[in-house]
């Protein structure tokens, strides 16, 4: 029986057993094409879906089914959407944000994660899972003393399964590298896509900030650390193409800003950029309305837009259509193209989160580091 018919079948004065009957027959959130029905069972003054979809009210209230402690909300989302959310449950005048107790699907992130549902035909890409038949790369870790930033930095280096010291490899420097491993399964993506020959076997440096919002918001010291401290050490330790044409930068959110800023401060040091949901806030006139941490970002983006030069040859840009940054990312694409940077863009019905960035890795990596699939006929 469909969900609407189940609800219609409720008696005028439903008993708890009637609610239980629905919960046993249907799993929530209930997805039917573009329609998603959320459900919550429990005593509360209010229950709402709290989400991060730019353009919708940030709180979507669930409605109590009269006479029961069942709360429901039906909402429409475009096919292929991924929606991260929590329930805001208000009791005694106090709202608490919780995971959806009826939904086992959870997306992890540095802030504790969210429940996840999807509209229509979204499926997690198979290449994001660990495949036991695929040879895994290995990750080496070491500490690097930084004069530019002060103190020591922990660096991880992913070496592909086919790494050979006498072959030259491309280098990808990733901002928030450990988070990319933990929340976007970057290692699975690399192992699988390299094994499928869609991505060339590349060396990936996983860098990690200490004071992220300062270092990544166009900080010259960060750029100096990457280019003058990290890259030379990597070139010494590993077999890399020892020139800008073999190097790339990648990052999400403020990590995207750090990537673009580093390339801009050191034109020619990198060949390409993989930018995911970059926090590329800018103003054409006047101030900005974002948080003060964006002040240096806006100053940088405004300066970049005035004098972009041609810091790299190629770029891959992605952004979620549920993000407040969609306008900035969309407008960056023709801007880069106009200034001679071969740019590919992908967007999806998703938000500012690590699983969105995970799902876009195949397009981005295979675009910037095409593997020998083209040359391979097994």
């Amino acid at each position: 029986m469909s969900l609407p018919r189940l609800f219609e079948s409720l008696p005028a004065e439903p008993a708890p057993a009637d609610v239980e009957r629905i919960l046993q027959k249907v799993s929530f959130p209930y997805v039917d094409g573009s329609s998603v029905t959320f459900a919550f069972v429990g005593e509360a003054e209010q229950v709402a879906v709290r989400h991060w979809i730019y353009g919708l009210p940030s709180s979507l209230p669930l409605k109590r089914v009269e006479g029961t402690d069942l709360w429901v909300l039906q909402a429409d989302f475009p096919a292929g959407s991924r929606i991260e959310y929590k329930f805001g449950v208000t009791r005694d005048g106090h709202e608490e944000w919780i995971f959806d107790p009826l939904n086992e699907q959870v997306a992890n992130d540095p802030f504790g994660g969210n429940s996840v549902t999807h509209g229509g035909d979204y499926e997690r890409p198979d290449w994001t899972f660990r495949d036991p038949s695929v040879r895994q790369g290995r990750i080496e870790r070491f500490a690097l003393r930084s004069e530019a930033l002060g103190g020591e930095r922990q660096v991880g280096v992913y070496l592909p399964a086919g790494y050979r010291p006498y072959r030259r490899h491309r280098l990808l420097v990733v901002h928030d590298g450990e988070d990319y491993l933990r929340y976007s399964q970057l290692d699975n993506a690399l192992d699988n896509l390299i094994a499928r020959r869609e991505v060339s076997p590349l060396v990936v440096a996983l860098t990690n900030p200490v004071d992220r919002l300062r270092e990544y918001a166009h900080d010259e010291r960060h750029a100096r650390h990457i280019v003058e401290e990290l890259v030379p050490v990597l070139e010494q330790r590993y077999s890399l193409i020892p020139e800008g044409s073999g190097r790339s930068l990648m990052g999400a959110s403020f990590g995207g800003v750090a990537s673009l800023s580093t390339a801009w401060l050191y034109p020619g040091a990198f060949d390409s950029l993989l930018l995911q949901s970059g926090s590329f806030a800018f103003t054409d006139i006047g101030g900005h309305s974002r948080s003060p941490v964006f002040d240096p970002v806006v100053a940088f983006m405004n300066a970049f837009r005035k004098a972009p030069g041609r810091p790299v040859n190629r770029a891959f840009v992605s952004c979620g259509m549920f993000e407040s940054l969609i306008y900035e990312n969309r407008s960056l694409v023709p801007f880069l193209q106009k200034h001679g940077i071969e740019t590919t863009y992908e967007e999806a019905y998703d938000g500012h989160n690590w699983e969105n960035w995970r799902d876009r890795l195949r397009k981005g990596l295979s675009r910037l580091f095409p593997g020998p699939l083209w040359e391979s006929y097994l």
Binding site: G162, R367, P372, L373, W374, E375, S376, Y377, L378
Partner: protein, 314 residues
């Protein structure tokens, strides 16, 4: 184009080695078979299934491992090969940039035009421009490889000479040579580097998928559905030149938009007089008594200049 050798067998991909097993049941192999899986690169040695499919005594030539050993020891050689690779890569970029424009133009012209106006002349000219570019590029790359070959002084390198001698001995005692697919350029480079085919006598040569492509007059790469967007079929370089007029297209059924008559037509017209033969899983072509014979369970297929996929005609 050179006449193809007799006792040459070209097969499609062998995920379960079904066609290969059937073929080996009827082809007489009088001595241990030699085989190469160099196209599998670092997985060259993971060949247990293949050994089981061959069934009888056999030996992996280990061309990839030999080349890795050679490159690790002979730094001058690897240096020159890297230099050559950089130049080839640059030439390839330039070729692909030019090719993209010419293919776009030809595809547009091949669309149905207004009634009553014949565009056949323009179409033929557009295709001819692509053919000339392919030919010019192939000539340039061949010349460059020859130049580097003379700089590499391959015959004077002791370690390489030792490998070649060892391989010549193995091949002289072998009853067949089997060539698996994989990374075609890597496979081809190793076949050339070690002069493998010079030492194969009149024994059967059986090559499948990318292995068949490596034996063609030239390598043509294609994939209409790569993850990074539609690709343009490109000529890479000259192959071993053993297949005569056959241009093998392994995995053609999954890589090519065969339902698109414009792409099919353009592919076939561009490479005429070569026959663009689809090598699917069951395809087997045998060169016997100066003729090609299709010996797979189903008929072999080729791309037609009219945009249709048709049965292979010997």
């Amino acid at each position: 184009m050179a006449e193809p050798r007799d006792r040459l067998f070209l097969l499609g991909p062998q995920p379960a080695y079904a066609s290969l097993i059937r073929l080996l049941e009827r082809v007489e192999v009088r001595a241990p078979a030699a085989y190469t899986t160099a196209g599998w690169e670092t997985e060259e040695g993971e060949d247990q299934e293949l050994r089981e499919a061959i069934g009888g005594p056999c030996r992996n030539l280990e061309l990839f491992a030999r080349s890795e050993h050679l490159f690790a020891e002979d730094t001058e050689l690897i240096g020159l090969l890297r230099e050559r690779q950089d130049v080839l890569r640059h030439l390839r970029d330039v070729y692909n940039a030019r090719l993209g424009h010419l293919l776009d133009a030809a595809r547009e012209l091949l669309l149905p035009g207004p009634a009553g106006i014949s565009l056949e002349g323009e179409r033929a000219s557009a295709v001819d421009m692509i053919r000339r570019l392919d030919s010019e590029y192939l000539q340039r790359v061949t010349g460059l490889i020859e130049d580097y070959d003379s700089r590499l002084r391959l015959s004077e390198r002791p370690l390489l000479a030792a490998h070649r001698k060892d391989l010549a001995e193995i091949l002289s005692r072998s009853g067949a040579l089997l060539i698996a697919g994989g990374h075609v350029a890597i496979l081809l480079n190793r076949l050339r580097l070690f002069g493998v085919l010079q030492h194969v006598g009149d024994v059967p040569v059986i090559a499948w998928s990318g292995g068949a492509m490596a034996l063609a007059e030239r390598l043509v790469f294609y994939h209409d559905f790569p993850p990074q967007g539609k690709g343009n079929p490109e000529v890479l370089r000259a192959g071993m030149g053993l297949c005569g007029s056959i241009q093998p297209l392994p995995e053609g059924d999954s890589r090519l938009a065969l339902e698109d008559p414009i792409r099919v037509q353009l592919f076939a017209r561009r490479f005429e007089p070569f026959q663009c033969v689809l090598f699917d899983e069951g395809t087997v072509l045998e060169r016997r008594a100066g003729r090609w014979h299709s010996c797979g369970p189903g008929p072999a297929r080729q791309l037609g200049v009219d945009g249709q996929v048709r049965e292979f005609a010997s």
